[in-house]
């Protein structure tokens, strides 16, 4: 009789232990899922809060221009590079278009490279814009918005100036003018 009681007691204890373990796994899974979701949201919010890339090594990218040429940023190490994000639907972009083109014509002889990145635009409108402002430096679409996401741009226009060592030396949110751009480029070239 005593043996039977002990056996039944053992099985009850084992059953409870198994239930406790199951409960623990369920809790662990639910909390794990919750924490994973919170982490994903946290990373996303952190990236938004960070704002545009303004320092450090410039994120590398390859731009295929409307003419079909390929330009990889890392190929221009040793040169100063001006990256301009723009769009044909963006009114402030039109304010800087002529100044950027003038700067390109003046500074390309001194080894400065200009790259125009067309953000969320339609090709026909983009080409019409480039023709209207007589833009001659390489320009291409930001396919799948990969480049603008890498630079975490807030909108257009935005301009980034990258030094000879591949490090971002300046970022301008909003339209840039010739005086401001040439002052930065002269300073970098005279270093």
């Amino acid at each position: 009789m005593e043996v039977t009681q002990t056996t039944s007691g053992n099985s009850v204890t084992r059953l409870e232990a198994r239930r406790t373990a199951q409960r623990r796994w369920v809790h662990l899974a639910v909390w794990g899922l919750f924490l994973a979701l919170m982490m994903l949201m946290g990373i996303k919010l952190y990236r938004v809060k960070l704002g545009p890339v303004s320092a450090g090594t410039a994120p590398n990218f390859t731009l295929t221009t409307f003419a079909g040429e390929s330009h990889t940023l890392s190929d221009y190490t040793g040169q100063i590079i001006v990256i301009n994000f723009w769009a044909s639907w963006c009114a402030p972009c039109a304010l800087e278009a002529a100044d950027l083109e003038q700067a390109w014509r003046d500074y390309r002889k001194r080894g400065v490279m200009f790259l125009g990145i067309d953000y969320v635009d339609t090709e026909s409108e983009a080409l019409a814009y480039l023709e209207k402002w007589n833009v001659t430096y390489p320009n291409g679409p930001d396919l799948r918005t990969a480049i603008s996401q890498a630079y975490r741009i807030k909108g257009v226009p935005e301009t980034y100036i990258i030094g000879q060592d591949g490090v971002i030396v300046g970022s301008i949110i909003g339209p840039i003018d010739y005086t401001k751009l040439s002052a930065t480029l002269d300073k970098l070239l005279n270093q």
Partner: protein, 146 residues
Amino acid sequence: MLTFSSFGAIAAQDDQPTDDEVNTIAKQLYCPVCENVPLDVCGTRACAQWRASIREKLAAGWNPEQIKQYFSEQYGVRVLAEPPTKGFNNLFWALPPIVTIVGWFLVLRFIHSIRHKQPAARQPVKTQRDAEEYAARLEDELAQWR
């Protein structure tokens, strides 16, 4: 002459996609510039250009799937109202039912635990068999501490 010109006009009109046809596709797209606003009701210049692009492609004989594919290749999958069911995007489809199932499971478990706890707390050990089982369990647990 008049009859011919009016037929000509009707035929030219038929070649052009209607606003409804354009908006049916535009409704399924979101421009990254104006987040959370479907393309069919977005009033920005960028969205107007996109709608014009849809119209051009429809007129050129593209079907809605080809147009959506073009936009996702050009601007990324985030422009699609419904993310494609592949890779990491599966998570967007799987998560809501998983969260709902887990939520219901937890609610039901909670209700179950309340229902089963109350009588146990109120009713003391009644039968001889219960008393024996309880005593056996007690003995067993005490034995573990000795």
